[in-house]
């Protein structure tokens, strides 16, 4: 199967322009990374609604808070690692506590940022943001899903964190496939176990299904873009119907998507689980492919985890 590849950040940039044309309230904030986050298309088209704040993420977040209080729908565009780290107190105590209508775009999420190394690879942002009351957390898997998540977030009233990546990734979803916040969907049916994917490692999951099929294993693949609120129904059904779960995310395994799934599984239908993700380490420099291999995020790693969890199931 051949697939188009496109960066999820392009989905962010294109969605902003689309939203900007339709809604005067949309404003975008840049923090000296405007081209890199792809907010640049919006900035060029709607300069009067683009606010550059310079290298000052804490100020960016609360200027966005103020803009939302003036009736705007602000999108803060910067790297995931800076926005959820440097500006956490602003996100927590100003934006989430007062339930303000601020949209936070975390660009360059995950280890696939590559050569820049650990300082720029956000691997904790999902754990941080999903622990905050009032926050919605979405990690789309490809270009179209990112675009839809951003468009959805503009219509939702309340804080929302959407994380996307730097590198082109295979386009798996369709322009017209539905997007419902908080709802996952089955990509392929299976009976022996379920692979639950969150984010841009979906192609690796699809390849893992082929590896497992050739070993006679029938795996269900579910894509779940929303980490919070989590889709309890699809997770519970996967646990009950297939009896074993592997979660896949480009993020630390402690506190992230896998943890969110486990919180549901242990209460609703305890079954064996395995967690594909970063195993409590900082990232390093390399190409995305090299890093996926070095950090255990390949199709082979997913297939191996699936076989391992099946042994625990038996």
């Amino acid at each position: 199967m051949t697939m188009n590849v496109r960066a999820t950040r392009d989905g962010y940039g294109d969605a902003l322009v689309e939203l900007g044309e339709k809604d005067e309230r949309i404003v975008v904030l840049g923090a000296d990374l405007t081209s890199s986050t792809r907010a640049s298309s919006f900035a060029a088209k709607f300069p009067e609604r683009f606010v550059e704040v310079g290298i000052a993420e804490q100020n960016a977040m609360n200027v966005a808070a103020g803009l939302s209080m003036a009736g705007k729908i602000p999108f803060v565009s910067t790297y995931a690692v800076f926005v959820t780290g440097r500006a956490l107190d602003q996100i927590r105590t100003t934006v989430c506590y007062s339930n303000l209508n601020v949209k936070i775009a975390g660009a360059h999420g995950g280890i696939s940022v590559g050569a820049d190394g650990a300082t720029h690879q956000a691997l904790e942002d999902v754990a941080i943001t999903r622990s905050l009351p009032n926050m919605t957390v979405i990690v789309p898997c490809d270009y179209y899903e990112t675009k839809k998540a951003i468009v959805w977030s503009a219509g939702h009233v309340g804080p929302c964190y959407v994380r996307f990546g730097r590198e082109p990734v295979p386009v798996v979803t369709q322009p017209d496939s539905p997007f419902t916040c908080g709802k996952g969907y089955v990509i392929r049916e299976g009976t022996d176990l379920t692979i639950l994917n969150n984010g841009p490692l979906l192609k690796q999951c699809l390849d893992a299904l082929d590896l497992l099929a050739s070993a006679g294993i029938s795996a269900r693949l579910v894509n779940l873009h929303t980490v919070k609120p989590i889709d309890r129904e699809i997770i519970t059904r996967a646990a009950k119907e297939t009896g074993a779960i592997v979660t896949v995310e480009e993020h630390q395994v402690q506190g992230g998507f896998g943890s969110a799934v486990a919180e549901v599984v242990v209460q609703a239908a305890p079954v064996p689980m395995r967690f594909i993700g970063i195993q409590d380490r900082f990232g390093e420099s390399g190409t995305p492919e090299e890093l996926f291999a070095a950090f255990g995020l390949t199709a082979e790693d997913i297939a191996e985890a699936a076989e391992d969890v099946l042994r625990a199931k038996d």
């Binding site: 404003v27 009067e48 609604r49 606010v51 704040v53 310079g54 000052a56 804490q58 100020n59 977040m61 609360n62 200027v63 966005a64 808070a65 103020g66 803009l67 939302s68 209080m69 003036a70 009736g71 705007k72 602000p74 107190d89 602003q90 105590t93 100003t94 506590y97 007062s98 339930n99 303000l100």
Partner: protein, 283 residues
């Protein structure tokens, strides 16, 4: 300002000092020092400069007040009660379970635009509001009430830089410069001098006033509203704990409530036996 208006504001300032003590005694915790030093800048704002309608707290045409120094709940809620946003009786629920008057203010309380309490966050919010109003060509003004120690937070200087850069003349910051913070004298803990020069260097218009002089404060708010092309900061020189002899200039009264006996002493000193000054009566 005519003399009858001035008398009215002085009476308000007096009543608010009494409320501060009374509700702190009732709550058994809270922050007297900065509440007492900030009485006059609050009174001059809410009862002279501010365009607002306490009976329509969400009225679109209102000016916005951001209490960046959220710990001074006693003065904030007393101002809101005297303005008519909340009742006097509700003041006595301050810091109690289920109250709209949380230890640090939240949007549950009418008249509070945004929750604050983690210092150094309000000026950025105020700048965002000012940018938003300007985008829409609206005349609403934005006021940000700050403390001196608070401006040790680095993010405050990001906000100062931003407001100066964008020439936000619809924004007015007011610093209660009482010279004290929890650990001691501001200049000894982490010196801010030369303070006015710092704001000026960031392209702000600076007005220095006696922060207990209602006429000076009222004039400063009027001047700030006339200045074009620059945001204005009013540096209000004050005395922490102002009005209560044993609290004045004592860092220890930053965040400790008077007990019943201390409260009674404070209220007697303030002359609060007068009819109408107290919500419940002497402790």
């Amino acid at each position: 300002m005519d003399s009858s208006k001035l008398k009215e504001l002085e009476a308000l300032a007096h009543r608010i000092r009494c409320h501060i003590i009374e509700l702190l005694v009732e709550a058994k915790s809270g922050h007297p020092g900065g509440s007492l030093s900030g009485v006059e800048y609050g009174v001059a704002l809410y009862f002279h400069a501010l365009r607002h309608d306490p009976h329509r707290p969400h009225w679109e045409g209102r000016d916005r007040v951001i209490w960046s120094r959220g710990h001074v709940g006693p003065v904030i809620f007393s101002l809101l009660a005297e303005s008519g946003y909340i009742t006097m009786e509700e003041l006595l629920t301050f810091r109690k379970l289920g109250s709209r008057l949380q230890g640090h203010p939240t949007t549950k309380c009418p008249g509070i635009e945004v929750g604050t309490g983690s210092l150094g966050q309000g000026l950025s919010v105020a700048a965002g509001l000012a940018i938003g109003f300007r985008m829409d060509g609206k005349g609403n003004r934005v006021y940000c009430l700050m403390g001196d120690g608070e401006t040790q937070e680095g993010a405050v200087w990001e906000a100062i830089m931003c407001a100066g850069h964008y020439r936000l003349d619809n924004l007015c910051a007011i610093v209660d410069y009482n010279n004290l913070q929890i650990d001691g004298w501001v200049e000894e803990v982490m010196g801010l001098a030369p303070y006015a020069d710092k704001w000026k260097a960031f392209r702000w218009n600076v007005l220095e006033v006696d922060g207990h002089d209602l006429e000076q404060l009222a004039r400063a708010y009027e001047t700030a509203a006339q200045v074009k092309g620059r945001p204005t900061v009013i540096l209000a020189q004050t005395i922490k704990g102002k009005g209560v002899s044993f609290m004045e200039n004592v860092a220890g009264w930053h965040g400790r409530a008077p007990n019943a006996e201390e409260g009674r002493q404070a209220l007697v000193e303030l002359g609060c036996e007068t009819e109408g000054c107290l919500i419940r009566g002497m402790p």
